[in-house]
Subunit: 268 residues, 2 copies
Amino acid sequence: MNTVAIVGVGLIGGSFALALRKAGFQGRIIGVSSPATIHKAFSRGVIDEALPLAEAASVADLVYLSQPISQIIETLKVLDTDALVTDAGSTKAVICETARKLKRGRFVGGHPMAGKESRGVEQADADLFRSRPYVLTSHEPELESWIERIGARLVFLEPADHDVTAAIVSHVPQLISTALAAELGATGGATQIAGPAAVDLTRLALSPYEIWEDIFATNAGPIQVALKLFISVLEGLGKQLNEPGMKREFLRAAKAAKELRQPPSEKD
Amino acid sequence: MNTVAIVGVGLIGGSFALALRKAGFQGRIIGVSSPATIHKAFSRGVIDEALPLAEAASVADLVYLSQPISQIIETLKVLDTDALVTDAGSTKAVICETARKLKRGRFVGGHPMAGKESRGVEQADADLFRSRPYVLTSHEPELESWIERIGARLVFLEPADHDVTAAIVSHVPQLISTALAAELGATGGATQIAGPAAVDLTRLALSPYEIWEDIFATNAGPIQVALKLFISVLEGLGKQLNEPGMKREFLRAAKAAKELRQPPSEKD
């Protein structure tokens, strides 16, 4: 792997470039992005050069699509390359199916489970992926090796399985947080006495809709299934508030919450 | 106010004692607790002396009930005093109604909206209440003055209004967190790729059931109403995932989440 094209040099794409460099990548890193972003990426030393998509794709060994989901799909439609192509979109089924139908060379879907409160190449960080899960939808030894070298934890999932799991661990939590914040906002005096519980649960509600629009557009089915399941669990708790079974529910939930907090080595 | 009896010298009672002292209280602070707790409270300098409830109540000007809710109710039943009595229970209607029926001198319900992950007098902290809301159910100038001197933010609420609001800002968030952790625990592979979203939303699921048992026993009605409202908001979001109205919902929720994070001075 001598030349990498990063298409969409934002937080994720910029961090991937910095992480590659830190892990010892000696080749060229080409940025494909808007002029303003390219300017910022150069000034932070994230990329070596900038090219339009077609030219970048024709010289790259790896094309890394780190745009919003809808733009990844648009890029796949015009991308002409024999290179290995991967992406960093938050849903996988629609993207992988698009790549498969269009026969875009060797495509491996990817999803680095990492992020920050703020976006943009200004926030790019060589350690963003360290110890975080990095989902790939199929095996590709050279890509796997670099993902391990940047310190991420490889997880293999079929696109549909990824989307079902992501609906539960990420998309439904977003809806919960948005719904709770809306309810708090509509309740007079609630913000006056709200404590850490409400603050914890409404942090996600600060996320910009722009990211979520694409996720909802490409994963509505699994989200609705996971949401229904969550609501039925929640209704179940509401019905047995003062019954002995409640203690068992709390113990079961606390066990899962603890597992979630264990370092990866203990999880495996 | 010369003598204060702290009944239940745990995190809250111990912190109230330390906060009073730090705020310049010169009188006696008497602890009423189990021998083991009294021993720890002495060794941390939280109390000046220890007495059984009846004796403490007969010499105190203020009796501060900082036990679990069910024990506060039991204490009220046996408490014989002309002193000002207040409590720190997380629900207010049942406690205030019990005090009213039993005519326990001058009773003012209280709820300091403060806490820590760990409990016990070992965690007591003179600054625990600083900048945090402290709900009182009625006016009592001397108590109000001390609550202000310990740095808390006074909020007056009728017992029933407190419980309805607490259901939304605290009790429903607990159920949400418990339900989500249970769902994550029951989904194979979920903990493997869960990120900060899932971690944020399942922190409350680590809370011990023992605290919640009393809250559910004394606030089931308001909790069920708030839960129903939350579920209907959440179902509404699920139904319009890909509709234009979703952006409006996100903006509305983000506004409320931001308000929640503003310092109190900007909220008023």
